[in-house]
Symmetry: C4
Subunit: 206 residues, 4 copies
Amino acid sequence: MSSPIKKLPMLSGRLEALGDGIFSVAMTILVIELELPKMISGGWAGFTAALQHTWPGLLCYMISFVVLGIMWFGHRMMFEFIARTNRYFIFLGVLFYMVVCLVPFSTRFLAQQVQWQSILVYGLNLSLCNLTLYAQWLYGVRRKSLMEIELNDEVRKEARTLFLLSPVVYGIAILISFWFPYISLIIYVITPVLYLLPNKLDKYMP
Amino acid sequence: MSSPIKKLPMLSGRLEALGDGIFSVAMTILVIELELPKMISGGWAGFTAALQHTWPGLLCYMISFVVLGIMWFGHRMMFEFIARTNRYFIFLGVLFYMVVCLVPFSTRFLAQQVQWQSILVYGLNLSLCNLTLYAQWLYGVRRKSLMEIELNDEVRKEARTLFLLSPVVYGIAILISFWFPYISLIIYVITPVLYLLPNKLDKYMP
Amino acid sequence: MSSPIKKLPMLSGRLEALGDGIFSVAMTILVIELELPKMISGGWAGFTAALQHTWPGLLCYMISFVVLGIMWFGHRMMFEFIARTNRYFIFLGVLFYMVVCLVPFSTRFLAQQVQWQSILVYGLNLSLCNLTLYAQWLYGVRRKSLMEIELNDEVRKEARTLFLLSPVVYGIAILISFWFPYISLIIYVITPVLYLLPNKLDKYMP
Amino acid sequence: MSSPIKKLPMLSGRLEALGDGIFSVAMTILVIELELPKMISGGWAGFTAALQHTWPGLLCYMISFVVLGIMWFGHRMMFEFIARTNRYFIFLGVLFYMVVCLVPFSTRFLAQQVQWQSILVYGLNLSLCNLTLYAQWLYGVRRKSLMEIELNDEVRKEARTLFLLSPVVYGIAILISFWFPYISLIIYVITPVLYLLPNKLDKYMP
């Protein structure tokens, strides 16, 4: 029933399961922060007033949800290639999860008031998510013992582009925010859309 | 240990796991919103008064829980047929999860006060859940590369009926709510029961 | 890649995953309700005073956590025997999850004040958990198409005893609570211990 | 379709799934406790003041997150060796999960004020996590029927060192806290780093 140790399998399944749990909680927690529309007067007037009050929070909720969805997708894609883990790979993973869990916090901060400080915190947080995930990816794909499917140069380059795209864009948004914070907000709305455009990885998918 | 890429497997397992996580958090979060019965006086009088105060919240909790259970079931059934994913299928999935996560929010709104505004928000939210899931289903079953088991016409039609049934009924409930919001509430209570009646998919189940 | 439908597999894996998610959230949510010890004065005096204030909440937290752990165990054991599901089995499962999710709510109510009303709500909730799980079990084991491993009479009887033990004990606790609510609380503390004693199912375990 | 019982498989998968759920919720819940930076005045002055106010909470969040990550890693490693469970093993697991779920609570207590009382509660909680996990490990590895891969003496000793390291260090931190609570806090920051150093288990990993 049991055999002496040589190498442990260290399959990535449980790290993925922890990630799915963390993403699903972080995504759902966003909604707890949403303030209920307070209806001061009845009828359409009161309703539209309440909606106007809820709107910024709802928008930030939607941006963060889609961004987290895209990050989850990137994380999920990584494990198409990587099937085994080791201690350092897992610690990089915990680091990634740590900054992911802060997203509901920075979202709340952004929803409270759109100004350069909240744009900075939010953009920094999202950039750190991408960068820690990229670090985990770079660590993983350089170790053949962890990989299931070998990369080719096209995938390698496209992955780099996708990982670094949003930190660069968010950096620009942060710079702009010192003068026009609402333009930065528009950039935050548009960025996820860039990830929906066709890319070079699509042809490897069923 | 590794082989060059041709097509990635892109199995649906992790998307399902994310969904199970999101549904379980959304369902459990409903209970955080529940107000504790405040017992002003002791004995049966105080207890029944407290129950009467908790009752609307508890009812809304139960409706939403059962509705989310039915949606989870539909989502789960989809993956009896679909076994692989691609980027667009997953993005439709994230959209579905986004509206699912809003259900605790609209439930709280409905529990606060039963009036046409809250009936509208709640019915719209639940309808969007069904419609985004239906969009994902339509996208998936039109791509043979994603499917595990081929559909026949009976399943296709019955799925359509089940996906569109509640948006239609909720649309009627919203219309009625401008005059009789409590009748709309009764419709919201009855709708889930429709999904418990025998249907044409039952014969394919063990 | 795809084959025409005859019978869908309807494996129980996702229902179990939803359950694991719901139990883990319900168990962890218990801790959100815990009030922080407020330290009015420093030193040991202030600390023990704070502990005394936190103690009832912490005790209720521990009881509920262990009880949920035992229910999770029963739920998990059920799926040693049952490997496939159908629509009715899943709806019974959703019902079970619904009452499980209410446990943090009744725990909060009990922690607030130990009196017959809270003993009643708490005991009723836990009994409903056991009874709905038992209903699901009875439904499942009567359908050979859902089962993986056939039951023998010993397992059948022992399962019935374990499912009905706590509703009976909780019923007694509720009766007693009209006179001595703290004795009922002691019964709630002791009941989980009964489930730790050796039983007739142990010999089937590795 | 079904066969009479001899021994149930009792695979560890669902206990691991419950654990992944509990860890992911406990880790994400930490962030709910984080207070939003309150910006009294605008510009850099107000921002740095707000950051200074948020800093202690953020630091405690990061310590707890990394510590929970390390515990999750230990828990995950245990199941490289153990593949089957029984009732007692699972009950030890529930005990472990119970103290893990208290970590957000003690973190909140620590973040509120750094003094010997909060250092004591926090260190005690983390030590109990390690000790209950160690108890589960000891129970498991002494039963061949539960194991997948046999231990050798090196693994056995290194596991003991890793399980007992932090309770010993935390014990020292608690002692010191009666005089210098901030030194204890520094010890809490440093301890996780010890677990990042290379150890004797690394050579068994891919």
